[in-house]
């Protein structure tokens, strides 16, 4: 660092940093403010189930609770653009087996390889 830099450090406009950080975090928080606590777990479970049939990334499945007039809506959006249907052999999507074994619930952090966590 040169002497001039030392004597006259460029002062960053930290107020702008504060404003931008707030905008981002609050947009996110407002969206999830009224959401029930179980939504993230539900989203993860749905991702696991859908992931058995279709190659899907975490950001392609969204779960929201909304309201339309007097009715509460559980809204599940699965984006399929660019998704690939998985071959039948790999899951319960195939023909009925004599005794379909329930897929073991993967522990957190061990998604199937085609599922990128959100």
């Amino acid at each position: 660092m040169g002497l001039l830099d030392f004597l006259f450090p460029e002062r960053r406009n930290t107020a702008v940093v504060a404003r931008d950080r707030l905008k981002i975090v609050m947009a996110h928080e407002r969206a999830s403010r009224d959401a029930p606590d179980f939504l993230p777990a539900l989203q993860k479970d749905l991702l696991d189930v859908v992931g058995r049939y279709i190659e899907i990334r975490g950001d392609m499945l969204r779960v929201n609770v909304g309201r339309s007039g007097e009715t509460s809506l559980l809204e599940i959006n699965v984006e399929l653009d660019g998704a690939k249907i998985k071959p039948v052999k790999n899951g319960s999507a195939g023909e009925a087996k004599p005794k379909p074994k329930p897929a073991p619930r993967p522990d957190p952090g061990s998604h199937p390889p085609w599922v990128k966590p959100g």
């Binding site: 002062r11 960053r12 406009n13 930290t14 107020a15 702008v16 504060a18 404003r19 950080r21 707030l22 905008k23 975090v25 609050m26 928080e29 407002r30 403010r33 009224d34």
Partner: protein
């Protein structure tokens, strides 16, 4: 005129809720409105100190809710203004003593006598804070130009919109106002502090007033005098402007430009 319940709330602590509640209540009384200011911070009583009536507290809010005292035994008449009353809270009882139906009963009784009921909310989003905002007709969100305060204010605005009595009963929503406190135009000019427009844009609620950071606020709390009673104080004048706007008057925002330091003023150290 039907009595109005106004809550001062913020989520975050230490932003100036009690100072502002005292100033707004005193300002309303100075305008001739019969006003009572209630301390909802059960267990951490402080409004009495800020109002300068700490040695006159005999009965409190919880005593009245429990029927151990009558309202007129607990209300403390301000010595500076005949229209102003202080309703202190309990220092000892636990915060759950604030039962919603009891609070409603007391507020209904106060509405018979007063034009304005100013509620000083505790910090946080727990029982006490929710009870303080539940019955509000209007809410003043006390916010500092600082990230954690702005975020907590947004949280409280969300709670007002969903958990207040007006929200639960599908009535007209609580009228929400932004009161920006501890604002320092010098620091905003240097890019060190969020500007008014930033906070307004992020919270998107109408601005009631901007209170400049001022040494007179600490002097006022030292002596137990609501800052609006200090005619020299820029903060006091800014609060009086805010009260005028609350009453529907147009007032230009003041004290938004950095003060040019006057050599003699800085010499004598008075702001």
């Amino acid at each position: 005129m039907a009595a109005k319940v106004i809550v001062l709330t913020s989520g975050k602590g230490g932003v100036g809720k009690t100072t502002s509640a005292a100033a707004v209540a005193a300002g309303l009384a100075l305008r001739g409105h019969r006003t009572v200011v209630i301390d909802f911070d059960v267990g951490l009583r402080n409004l009495d100190l800020i109002m300068g009536c700490e040695r006159r507290v005999v009965f409190d809010f919880i005593n009245v809710i429990n029927g151990d005292a009558k309202l007129n035994q607990a209300l403390i008449k301000d010595k500076r203004n005949d229209s102003l009353y202080v309703f202190p809270t309990s220092q000892t009882r636990d915060k759950d003593a604030l039962k919603r139906d009891g609070v409603e009963r007391v507020l209904d009784e106060l509405k018979e006598t007063f034009d304005y009921i100013v509620c000083d909310s505790p910090a946080g989003i727990e029982h006490g804070a929710i009870t303080a905002l539940y019955f509000a007709d209007e809410a003043i969100i006390v916010t500092n130009p600082e990230v954690s305060s702005v975020r907590d204010s947004d949280r409280i605005i969300g709670i007002l919109a969903s958990k207040s009595r007006r929200a639960e009963n599908n009535m007209d929503p609580v009228a929400i106002h932004l009161l920006l406190t501890r604002y320092s135009p010098e620091r905003v000019e240097r890019g060190e502090m969020l500007a008014i427009d930033d906070v307004k844009e992020i919270l998107s609620i109408p601005l009631l007033g901007v209170i400049p950071e001022s040494p007179s606020v600490l002097r006022a709390s030292n002596t137990g005098t609501p800052v609006v009673f200090d005619p020299q104080s820029p903060a006091g004048q800014a609060y009086l402007d805010a009260v005028a706007r609350l009453l529907g008057e147009e007032r230009e925002m003041r004290f938004l430009k950095p003060e040019r330091r006057n050599f003699f003023r800085s010499l004598f150290g008075r702001a």
